[in-house]
Structure formats: C-alpha cells, structure tokens
Assembly symmetry: C2
Homo-oligomer: 182 residues x 2
Amino acid sequence: MRADAERNIATILDAAERVLAATPDAGMAAIARAAGVARQTVYAHYSSREALLEAVAERALAQTLAAIDAAEPERGDPREALDRLIAAWWGSIGRHARVLEALAPAMPAHSELRAFHAPILGRVEALIERGDFARDVPPAWLAAAFLGLMHTAAEEVASGRLSQEAAGRALARSIPRLFADR
Amino acid sequence: MRADAERNIATILDAAERVLAATPDAGMAAIARAAGVARQTVYAHYSSREALLEAVAERALAQTLAAIDAAEPERGDPREALDRLIAAWWGSIGRHARVLEALAPAMPAHSELRAFHAPILGRVEALIERGDFARDVPPAWLAAAFLGLMHTAAEEVASGRLSQEAAGRALARSIPRLFADR
DNA sequence: ACAAATTTGGACATATCTGTCCAACAACGA
DNA sequence: TCGTTGTTGGACAGATATGTCCAAATTTGT
C-alpha cells in the first residue's frame, strides 16, 4: 500500500466521522468533499457506503474502548474510578462515541456492529457491579443512564445552551448523585 | 370540510407519528401506506413532506404540553409534583414526545418548531426552580437531564433490555436521586 | 337520489444518490 | 528517471423520492 493511499484512508475516516456525527444520512459526495478527495477515491477504498459506515463504526468503537480502558476503571476505589471514567469520557471518549450514537439506527440489520453499545455498556456495568452503587435499580439501567447523560451533556454543549466546562462540572456532580446508594 | 377528510387527516397524523418515531427519514409513500390511504391523499392535505412534518411536530408538541399541564407540576409539594410528572411522562407523554426527538434534527432550519424542547424544558425547569433541588448545577441542566433519562429509558424498553415496568421503577428512583440536594 | 367533495390509480417530470466504467493525470518508490 | 500505483473528472445506468396532473371511482351531505 502506497503512503498516499494510507493517508487518504485516514483522512476519509476522519471526515466521515465528523460529517456523519452531524448528519447521519450524509451521502458519499458530502463525505468525499469534506475529506478533500474525489468521490471515486472513497469508492476505491470502500466498495459501498455500507462498507464505509462499517469501517467508521469499527474504528470509533475501537478508539472508544481503548480510551475507556486507558482510564483503568477496574483500578482503585470505585468512586474515584467513576470520577476518572467521567473525566476521560468528557475529555476524549465522547468525541468518538458520538458517531456511534448517530450511526446505530442507520446501520444495516445484518451488521455485527449493530450492538455497538454492548461492549461499552459492559465496561461501565462492570464498574457499577464492582462498586456498591445504587442497588435498587438494575446495573444495566445505571450504565445506560450513564451513557444517556453523556449524550445529553454533549447535546447541551453542541446547541450552545451550556459551555464545555459547565457541562463537565454538571456531569461530575450529577452522575455520582445518580449512582448514590441512598 | 367533509367528515371523511377530517378522519383521514387524523389517521395520517397518527400514522406519521408512529412511522416517523421509528424511522425519521421515512418517505411519503411509507407514511401513506401506514395510514392506509393513497399517497395523493396525503398530498391533498399537506402540500409537501415538510408541511406534514411541521403538522406532526406541532400536534405532538401541543399534546405533550397539555399532558404536562394535566399533571399540574406547579401544585403541591415539589417532590410529589416531580413524582407526578415522572409518572405522567412515562404513562403518556413519552409516546408523543418521542417523535419530537426524532424529528428535531430533520426539521428545516427555518422552521419555528426547531425549538421544540424549549417550552417542554421550560415546564420542567419551572418545577426545578420552585423546589429546592440540586442547586450546585444549573436548573437548565437538570431539566435537560430529566428529558435525557426519559429518552434513555424509552430506548431501553424499545430495545428489549428493560421491561416497561422495570424502566418505570428505575426512573422513579433515579430521577429524584439525580435531583437530590446533596 | 343527486350534486359536490374526496379519494384513488396511473402516469409523468425532476432531482438526488448509488455504484460503475474509463481515460487522463499525478504521485510515489526504487 | 521510470514504471507502478493511486487519483481525478466525466459520464452513465439504475433506483428511489418528491411533487404534479388527470380522469375515474367512491363517499358524503342534503
């Protein structure tokens, strides 16, 4: 593979992630334009729109899981680990995870990546079960609520109703409260 | 207006709400099929797809606001009012509110209904400010988080990961906790 | 029962998106 | 430098969605 091609693949995936997060039903032309390459170049690397979506989702999922693991949620006091996870998510994970939320409904039914959230939820759920967080609700619910609040916060920032810092502070206070035992 | 036509309009709006909530980019043909009428009948009442979306959104918004007001969030103890609002939302409001979430990104930029959430958030925010809920985060954030958790719960039920009842219980416990003062 | 309103099926022009082919061109690597 | 690899623009067929027109059939209200 020529260096040229490899560079373009990365550029295309970056552009696709950016464009699709904002407009999930964007076409190949829009993605190619955002990447600064010809539409045919995209087809040269991904034989169909579906294949491109799959690649984007796969990469975003891998990056998200890597960033979660880098926060080491299985180490130390669960409450501190939770704070670490929140900070890491808000700092870097969310950027990759957003396209997954946007792509999930549009993914073809037979894709193995339909279950994006499963591995991500699994990581969060493991932390919840390790700590003694709210036990009068299912851990799976707490994990889903965690993701949901991250998504809500990202939307608030995107729409300008909250600043990046204010949203981070709000999350750092609200999530532990949501997880509180009583 | 003939009784016939009025009936069809209601049928079309119902079908559109149902279909669009599941598939926001569904076409006129799919909506007409779901309503059991010909595609031209839809065009007879709504001159364009955009006009139909507007009508669906407007009706859903009105129904949502009416249901919120029926729960009388401004009456009695704020904590009990919050419980009432949660129950009302989960019981009936969510069904109408879901299409708004789905339609918001697809609405044309110049639509007055782009700001769906504003009046809904306003009602919730008023309750938050009336009660002595968590004051170390902005009331607007709490209101957004309220909506976000409702959305998350609805998704959990839709995907079969949680039963309707379990989700209702989880909400009734988690939201007051999220709103807790300390 | 009858006139008016409404729905229906068919057909049509228009636009957009996908996926493909091809020939010319540019960039890489040895 | 030179052959190979990759990119580009143009063009094309097929599919799909929108919006429109029309004449025939049906339903409604009186």
